[in-house]
């Protein structure tokens, strides 16, 4: 990560802001996409978060800008906007993307999906477990698990940073991530059950 960025922003926000956008847009978009599930919503929320960050920094004293922890600070802005978005979207519990993925997995025979039908079951599972598949599983998690799981394992924030982003104690977050991962693992195992494959074959 770019440690000189806050200092550069403090000196000349307009000159340094593009660097902020380029160095954080992928991670912020990834968080938004995996929390919200919809690419268009994710793009909108990410842009909105970056614009809000720009306006906030424009009003800060240089010292406050130099001390910014950009990774958790930007994530916090983004997560708040994601919350507003999901609140407006109720009761859409499962994003469209998931239903697409589910529909596709029912249409496509497993051999075609896995590429090499003669590989070991383990390799086949890894190949099949592509991004769409896992995004679909992630979307089935309740919000209170999904958001911490995404921040920890898609974005790689520390629990310390997550505590400031989400305003929850580290212990709570560890437990929520743990339960989220356990639930994903069970869901992933169920998805590989042979009877399910026979049904779809």
């Amino acid at each position: 990560m770019d440690d000189t960025l806050p200092a550069a922003l403090a000196i000349d926000l307009d000159a340094a802001f593009e660097r902020l956008v380029r160095s954080h847009q992928d991670r912020l978009y990834s968080i938004a996409l995996r929390v919200l599930g919809d690419p268009r919503d994710a793009e909108e929320v990410t842009q909105d978060a970056l614009v809000r960050a720009y306006r906030a920094i424009a009003g800060y004293e240089p010292r406050r800008i130099r001390e910014l922890q950009l990774r958790p600070w930007l994530a916090a802005i983004l997560i708040n906007l994601c919350r507003n978005k999901t609140r407006k979207h109720r009761p859409a519990l499962v994003p469209l993307d998931t239903t697409d993925a589910a529909a596709e997995s029912q249409r496509t025979p497993p051999q075609l999906r896995s590429g090499d039908p003669r590989g070991s079951p383990h390799e086949a599972a890894l190949r099949r477990d592509g991004a769409r598949h896992w995004a679909g599983l992630l979307a089935t998690l309740p919000d209170r698990y999904r958001t911490p799981v995404v921040l920890r394992h898609v974005d790689g924030l520390s629990y310390d940073e997550m505590a400031t982003v989400l305003g929850r104690p580290e212990g709570t977050l560890k437990a929520q991530v743990h339960r989220g991962l356990a639930q994903l693992r069970v869901a992933a195992e169920q998805a590989t059950r042979p009877d399910r494959e026979e049904m779809t074959a």
């Binding site: 992928d26 978009y29 990834s30 690419p39 793009e43 079951p121 991004a131 992630l138 898609v154 693992r185």
Partner: protein
């Protein structure tokens, strides 16, 4: 048969692989939204296609040029921010510009005039007050912004108007009543636009050559600039013509509070 085993580290690896690159348009449109870059497109108007540039703060440039390259070169010289061609002016912005060109001054149409001198901004904002179908002399603007001696500087500022048509510098004419020059294609275009807005440019210039500067009504005993909507309401029978504000006052007329003809007279 049993389900296959999935380990926690496989789950973690799969999640880490869910990071994706942001869409290519995200960075440029974010920079545009905060006003660090602009987008542009061509907009159809009554005088043909014009190039329009804008960002999150407002419309920054409007120009009538033969091609994109000319527009980009001029924008680069005048403003210098990154500039990106897009397919069309966004629907809402296009509608706002169309309504403004049609004479609706209430429509919300933010302008990005950052980096311009306060004097220039004052001139452009004052020009925005001139209604469609009317004109005001350069000296009127100078007096109205409290710089009655800066008539020539008003002309220069209007020549540098970054958003002609939107800021209607075509409605500002020479203090002797002749139409004067126009940044968006010369006097002929100015004449054409004013005619399209409901004025009779030939009649205006005929009056100017005859030395007529003000119209008065002998019923209200109020005098106006000739294109003021209150002057245009007066029937031929009741219209009095004056060569100067002093002559109007001497005849017992008072100045219209809408077009404020005294401002035109005060300027040096």
């Amino acid at each position: 048969m049993n389900a296959q085993t999935v380990t926690l580290s496989e789950v973690e690896a799969a999640l880490a692989a869910l990071a994706v690159p942001a869409p290519a348009a995200l960075a440029p449109s974010t920079l545009t939204a905060v006003g660090l870059a602009d987008e542009y497109a061509v907009l159809a108007t009554p005088i043909g296609g014009v190039h329009v540039a804008w960002n999150g703060l407002g419309v920054s440039t409007l120009d009538r040029v033969p091609d994109d390259a000319t527009f980009e070169a001029r924008f680069g010289t005048a403003i210098g921010r990154p500039l990106r061609r897009v397919d069309a002016v966004p629907e809402r912005l296009a509608r706002a510009i169309e309504r403004r060109l049609a004479g609706d001054r209430r429509v919300r149409l933010p302008l990005d005039l950052r980096g311009r001198r306060p004097f220039e901004q004052a001139v452009w904002l004052k020009a925005l007050e001139i209604p469609r179908g009317e004109v005001r002399p350069y000296g009127w603007i100078a007096a109205e912004i409290g710089r009655p001696r800066a008539v020539r500087a008003v002309g220069t500022a209007l020549a540098h108007n970054p958003v002609p048509l939107v800021v209607p510098c075509h409605r500002v004419v020479r203090s002797d009543g002749l139409l004067g020059n126009y940044s968006l294609g010369g006097p002929a275009v100015k004449r054409e636009i004013l005619a399209a807005e409901g004025l009779d440019p030939d009649e205006l210039e005929r009056l100017a050559r005859a030395g007529i500067r003000y119209f008065g009504s002998d019923t209200t005993r109020i005098y106006c600039l000739p294109t003021c909507r209150h002057a245009r309401r007066v029937t031929d029978h009741h219209r009095q013509m004056f060569r100067s504000a002093r002559a109007s006052e001497a005849a017992g007329y008072r100045a219209c509070k809408v077009c404020r003809p005294g401002s035109a007279a005060r300027a040096a």
